[in-house]
Amino acid sequence: MGLIARVIEAAGIPTVCVIGLREIAERVRPPRAVHLKWPFGHPLGEPGNRAQQLCVLYIALQALYTVQESGTILDPGWRWRREEYEEPDTWVMG
């Protein structure tokens, strides 16, 4: 996935990757990544947990504006289901 992101970014389109394995991202170095150490097959969260899914979408899209250095891996530290997720109030960015 990081390799695909690098190709697209090199074509001039900003990318952000949600990643579950920091070790691989540190090697492949996608341009921007949000690291969530969650179960495989669940990059945006649990089925039916809309607030959790939107929180991941929000932080990933925000990274498109805030990351200033290529290869940055953001780590929000969210602990899977042991967090209170709230739907973002606003999506105004940029």
Partner: protein, 174 residues
């Protein structure tokens, strides 16, 4: 398929399942990408506010339309091809072919892997400028298919994204 290929296929599945528990395996897999280590990482700037941005989603979770050919799970080195998925595709029209992870939850709620529905909702309420054609690959690509991915299929998707005037891309793994 030879016995060797069958063994590699079984090992590939087992490695996929163990990655989350054994970081050492993930590190070993990462070593496959030594070739790109040291290459500069590009960074394109997003100049528009989000509400004007046309987004596309890309997953490596093996999602495809039921009417499209499935990804090739018989090649233990992976399948570097991709499937284009229109933004208005309903979840019922999609399926997942990927033997290396448990996708039963994603089949119940595709938003956890490939959030077309949430993307359409964000576009409808004006939070984003729109959702363009989305794309799916499968992960676990090994040489020599990495070369195909880097030189053919990923650049082909990049060209289509530019043609569709996509401003930014979100990528999600399996």
């Amino acid at each position: 398929m030879s016995d060797y290929d069958r063994l590699r296929q079984r090992m590939g599945r087992a490695v996929g399942q163990l990655f989350s528990q054994l970081p050492e395996l993930a590190r070993v897999w990462g070593q496959l990408f030594d070739a790109i280590e040291g290459a500069p990482v590009p960074l394109a700037r997003l100049a528009k506010p989000l509400h004007q941005c046309r987004l596309a989603f890309i997953t490596t979770g093996g999602v495809h339309l039921r009417s499209q050919p499935p990804f090739d799970m018989n090649d233990s080195r992976g399948d570097p091809s991709y499937r284009a998925i229109p933004a208005d595709t309903p979840a019922e029209a999609l399926t997942i072919t990927h033997d290396y992870y448990d996708h039963s939850d994603a089949e119940r709620d595709l938003n956890i892997l490939f959030p077309l529905e949430l993307g359409r909702e964000l576009a409808a309420r004006g939070a984003i400028g729109g959702l363009g054609t989305c794309y799916s690959f499968m992960g676990h690509i090994e040489p020599p298919h990495v070369t195909t991915l880097l030189q053919q299929t990923a650049p082909a998707v990049a060209v289509q994204l530019r043609q569709e005037q996509i401003d930014a891309v979100l990528l999600t793994p399996a």
